[in-house]
Structures are given as C-alpha cells and as structure tokens.
C-alpha cells in the first residue's frame, strides 16, 4: 500500500476536530464533532460544505477530443454546449462499469473528466490505453485541483457575495469560470446531495483560503463543514449510485438503472456491442431501492431475501436521517417492482420491507 495522500484541506479538517479515515487513498474527514446526523440535516435545511478534493480530473484536449470522449464514455458529449456538464460512465467492452464521471465541456476541443478518487489510477490507465487512435492530449490534473462542494438551500445566498459571476443564470449541470473571493476557479452547479449547490474547482494552494472564507461568511446562514458520512446518507436518499457499492466492473449501466446514460445510437464506443445485446436480450437483474418497515439498519453486505431466497447483498444502505427508516439498494430479479415485499437479514432476524422507487427522498431543494 502506498502512503495515504492529503488534500489541500487536511489541516483545516484537523483544526475543526474532524474524525479522519482512509478513503480512496486519502486521509479524509468522515465527520466533524457535530456528528453525521446534524451534518446531514444542515445540508437539507441550510448548507454544508464538503472537501471532495480527492476526486480526480483528467483534461482531454485536441482536434480529436470530442470523438475520444464519445468513444470512452457511454453518454453523448456532442450534446454538450460550452459550459455544460454531463453525467456519464466509462465501460469495459463487456459493458461492466469502470467508473462513473462528470464530463465538462471546457471548449470546442477541450473536456475535463471528473472521476472517483478511488479510481484515478485505474481510470487513467483505461483512458490512456484507448487514446492511441485519437488526435488528443491527455493530462492528469488530479493533484493540481482542490474541490469544495457547497450544498444546501442556502448555498447560493452564501456564495453569491463572494463570486464575480451571477449565479442565478447558471443552470443545473452548467458551470462558469470566475473568481471565488478573488481566487480563479470553476463554479459548477452540480452536487451529490439532492440539494441546490455548487462545486468549486480551485487551485490547491488557495483552496484552504476559500474554505475558511466560506465558513466565516456562511456560518450565520447555518453552514457547517460536513464529512463523508453525511455525504453518503445524502446521496443514498437521492438514489445516486456510489461506485464500488451500487456499480462496479461486474454491473452494467443498464442493470444499474443508468440506461439514460447509454446512447446506443451514437458512433462506436467501448461497451456498445455488449450493452446493445443486453438491451435486446432483456435484463435478468436490476438495481432497486428498498425501504424497511421496521426498525433496522441495512448495512452493505447484509443478505436480502426476495421471494423466500437470499438474492444478494445490500449494495448501499443506511438509516435515512430524513425518513427515519432503513433504506438501501440491491440487485433484484428484473421482474421485481415497487411494492413487492423484500426483507433484510440483520444479524439473526429478517426485517421486512418493500421495494420502493428511487429517489427515496423527494423533498430536496434541487428541483424547487
């Protein structure tokens, strides 16, 4: 194992009393002294701020940039205008998911791919290995970018006075280049919580100053720092996939409920044949959400019982702070539908529940 890395905000987390855990090869804050539940609630009701500098960024430049990004991802980057962002996945030839990512259209011939921190090395090898036939230049900028996610219904009001661009016209999954408290960066209306908010791509040496400034000005609006623990419960309430739990190299985007990311009709891309065949044959399983009807905390790995048989492990699971109920995801036979009974074996008891549509929580500020 190589040594754990630290983000530009590591010292800030320690100063705030965070509990630090190894995650994605980094020393990351799982929670601050406020605790996961309050951090979760702050994001749902006012605002929370996450260090997500562990995420990886690859720059793709050159005359072949659009064709290359289209070849290595399943979604269609040709649909992107300048300043727009797209959720997508990299697949293997067999349709298994290498990673999920965001694609930023920075220019006519320039894209930024934002990947999971845990997958930076794997993804880099994957895309670099596919670049040979394309007129592109790839650069791994992962160590050169700090990333702060400011999320919650108050996020815009907190951020607007600090930036030199007007935030209101920036749509969901669009971004602008500007300055945050004088620091140049990218202001992206994206997130992983289901709340309104922004992700700020910043130079690493200035990320700490922006973090401190946001906390200083946001405190009166209820902004608190939030760690990986609440990030996970927030994203799961929204049914957002987590790589390594809900999706991996042995699951396809069609099985994972991400068929909206798969544009089979575009030009050739990695995984196209396998995904087309799977679509034509029909799925044998599908990622579904469940909600427990009795008290229980469905942790990843616990067995799920469907029609009298254990059908596989809980992929993601938590006790939803917003709903007060155990929720989770599991791959079920494709015919399973909302309302079907399902139970989770928690220690020696089968806790009953049912299949429910995702998102689990629909009160977020994102769509308001």
């Amino acid at each position: 194992m190589s040594e754990l890395k630290r983000t530009p905000l590591y010292e800030a987390h320690v100063a705030l009393g965070a509990k630090i855990v190894p995650f994605a090869g980094f020393e990351m804050p799982v929670q601050y002294p406020t605790g996961i539940t309050r951090e979760h609630t702050a994001v749902r009701t006012s605002a929370g701020m996450f260090d997500v500098s562990h995420m990886g960024e690859f720059l793709v430049e050159g005359p072949g940039a659009l064709a290359f990004v289209s070849y290595v991802t399943t979604n269609d980057p040709a649909l992107l205008s300048l300043g727009q962002v797209q959720y997508s996945v990299f697949c293997l030839q067999d349709g298994g998911i290498v990673d999920d990512l965001l694609v930023y259209r920075m220019g006519e011939q320039r894209f930024r791919l934002v990947v999971n921190g845990a997958n930076i090395d794997k993804d880099w090898a994957h895309v670099a290995g596919l670049a040979g036939d394309f007129d592109v230049e790839l650069s791994n900028e992962s160590d050169d970018i700090g990333l702060i996610a400011l999320q919650g219904p108050s996020a815009e009001a907190i951020l607007q006075p600090l930036v030199d661009v007007e935030l209101a016209p920036i749509g969901f999954y669009w971004f602008a280049e500007g300055h945050v408290d004088g620091v140049p960066g990218i202001i992206s209306r994206t997130g992983y919580t289901g709340e309104a908010g922004f992700e700020l791509y910043l130079p690493p040496e200035a990320t700490r100053a922006v973090w401190d400034r946001l906390l200083e000005v946001g405190g009166e609006r209820g902004l608190i720092p939030a760690g990986l623990g609440s990030r996970d419960s927030l994203r799961l309430e929204m049914g957002y996939a987590l790589y390594g739990n809900d999706i991996d190299e042995h699951t396809t985007p069609l099985e994972a409920g991400l068929s909206w990311l798969v544009k089979l009709g575009k030009d050739s891309f990695v995984g196209q044949d396998a995904l087309r065949a799977q679509k034509e044959e029909g799925l044998s399983r599908r990622l579904r959400g469940f909600r427990l009807a009795e008290r229980g905390f469905p942790r990843p790995g616990y067995d799920v019982i469907f029609r009298g048989a254990a059908v596989g492990p809980v992929r993601s699971g938590t006790l939803s702070p917003s709903l007060g109920a155990g929720i989770g995801t599991v791959y079920l036979p494709a015919e399973a539908k909302a309302g079907d009974p399902v139970s989770v074996r928690i220690r020696d008891r089968d806790i009953p529940g049912e299949v429910v549509p995702m998102p689990f929580y629909d009160g977020g500020s994102l769509r308001r």
């Binding site: 929670q31 605790g35 996961i36 539940t37 623990g229 419960s233 905390f297 942790r299 938590t318 006790l319």
Partner: protein, 129 residues
Amino acid sequence: MSGIPDGFQYTEEHEYVCEAGTEGEYLVGITDYAQGELGDVVFVELPAPGDAFEKMEVFGTIEAVKAVSDLYCPISGEVVAINETLDEDPALVNSDPYGEGWMIRIRVIDPSELDDLLSPEAYASLIED
C-alpha cells in the same frame, strides 16, 4: 478527568457500571470514549426486564451511523429496568453517556465480580493506547 468519572468501573469493551442508589443494583452504559468512537447512535436494542445475563454475555446491540456493536454485560445479574427513553431518543447515549444515556439497571448476583472490572485509572490507560 471528565470523560471517565471516578466511582465508576469499566470493561475493556467500553461499558461502565455504577451504583444505582439501591443496594445491589447497578446501572450499565457505554463510556464517553465509546460513544465518540461510534458516532451518532441511531438506536439501542435492549433486553426485557427480568432477563438474566452472565458476566460478559451480550445483552444488546448499539447501532450507530458508522457501525453496530454488541453490548456486554459487565457483571452477572438480572435486568430490573431498562432505559426506555433511549427508544425515543437514542442520541442521549452521545450527549450524556454517564447520565441520561444509561442502558440497563441490573441486580448483581455476585458482588465480588465487580473486583474484576477496570478502575478509572486502568480504563484511562486502556484508551490511551
């Protein structure tokens, strides 16, 4: 030290025992250190009054956001009461582990078992490691 009250006794599994105010009865809970390690407690599964446990037998489980842990009974005895308020407000284990966050009240069978438990000093050195 505030995190490890005097007059209490402790297990290596981070439970505490303290006198309940009635001869032969003791309150059992988890230490401030343990609640801090567990993080936000979301529920506590406790036994029923009348249940009996051997020393270091599992008497319940504590479910926190990050992990689930068994609860070990520090001394043999019979449960005479449980803290029913934890059902509504499990966060009391976080906010007041040695007070409102107590878990079970137990009538001991053999008071000499208390001699095997850790003193505040011994527990302090355990969690320093």
